[in-house]
């Protein structure tokens, strides 16, 4: 075997081959058959199960958004209470000039 640097960025082929032989357990077909036999009893996450999981997540997310929106809307309306009918009637007009124009036109018609 050559004496390559230990800090080499390339695989050491001779060492790799020796280790592969040392770790190779053999009987690959037996192992594969064993795994596949057990796999028959494993339930794979099918596409509908995946969709169902996403749907559950979606519903939960929508619920959170709805609750948050409700909370913020509630806070906004509580901060500015709605005026009563009497408040509206006695309140000064927002644009007095417009009222005068209307009155003038009514009186002019008469």
């Amino acid at each position: 075997m050559k004496d390559p640097l230990s800090f080499d960025h390339r695989p050491d082929l001779a060492l790799g081959k020796a280790l592969r032989e040392a770790l190779d357990p053999g009987d690959a077909p037996v192992f594969i058959a064993r795994v596949l036999a057990h796999a028959e009893h494993v339930r794979v996450a099918s596409w509908d199960a995946v969709l169902a999981r996403w749907a559950r997540t979606g519903v939960a997310a929508a619920l959170v958004v709805a609750l948050a929106a409700g909370y913020f809307v509630g806070r906004a309306t509580a901060a500015s209470p709605r005026p009563t009918v009497s408040d509206v009637l006695i309140a000064p007009p927002a644009h007095p000039a417009e009222v005068e124009v209307v009155l003038a036109s009514l009186m002019g018609n008469n």
């Binding site: 075997m1 190779d24 357990p25």
Partner: protein, 194 residues
């Protein structure tokens, strides 16, 4: 020793068609999963054995990992190579198994190989070398074992190994360096004795 071929990570050979195989396996096609098992059985068993030492324990861990991967296939990101994803599950399964129970020790050397006697033939020499290598591996820290096996045996890059083991790439380089230094001394001693 004959010139060995450079190791070819199975993930690099056919990443495109593996994404397709995974999609078919998720859709319930067991034959597609069978192809993945055939393709990765060897590397999964070797990686598990590097962690556990004992071949039977390693096979149990590799099997657990493959079945676990089957259940989690829908979580696999098809844009990434399949091999490192699977081997991370294998390495975790092997580590968990080693922590959970006292693992059977590495098989002892054959009496005929350790107690002198007639000169062992080539097969027996090979078996003894394999045994010595396994024992030398077992002396290394687990991370170091995994790093050198994934790099020199399986041909994965430092970056891929970093993703599999979950350590920085620089640490992988360092682990490979230290493991090689130890194993090369052992192989050189073996050659001198032979």
């Amino acid at each position: 020793m004959a010139d060995p071929q450079p190791p070819q990570p199975v993930a690099r050979i056919a990443q495109q068609d593996e994404a397709d195989l995974v999609a078919r396996a998720v859709a319930g096609e067991r034959a597609a999963f069978g192809i993945l098992v055939e393709r990765y059985a060897g590397v999964a068993r070797r990686v598990a054995r590097a962690v556990l030492g004992n071949a039977d324990d390693a096979d149990d861990a590799a099997q657990d990992a493959m079945l676990s991967a089957l259940v989690k296939l829908d979580q696999y990101d098809a844009r990434r190579p399949f091999g490192p994803w699977l081997l991370r599950i294998v390495a975790n399964a092997a580590t968990d198994r080693r922590r959970r129970r006292s693992v059977r020790r590495v098989e002892p050397l054959d009496v005929g190989l350790t107690a002198g006697g007639p000169r062992p033939d080539t097969t027996a020499e090979r078996r003894a070398l394999n045994q010595r290598l396994r024992e030398a591996l077992a002396e290394l820290p687990e991370r170091r074992r995994l790093a050198v096996v994934l790099f020199d045996v399986e041909g994965y890059s430092h970056g891929e190994i970093a993703a599999i083991i979950g350590i920085p790439e620089g640490t992988v380089r360092s682990e490979v360096f230290h493991a090689r230094r130890r194993l090369r001394v052992l192989l050189a001693d073996w050659k001198e004795e032979a």
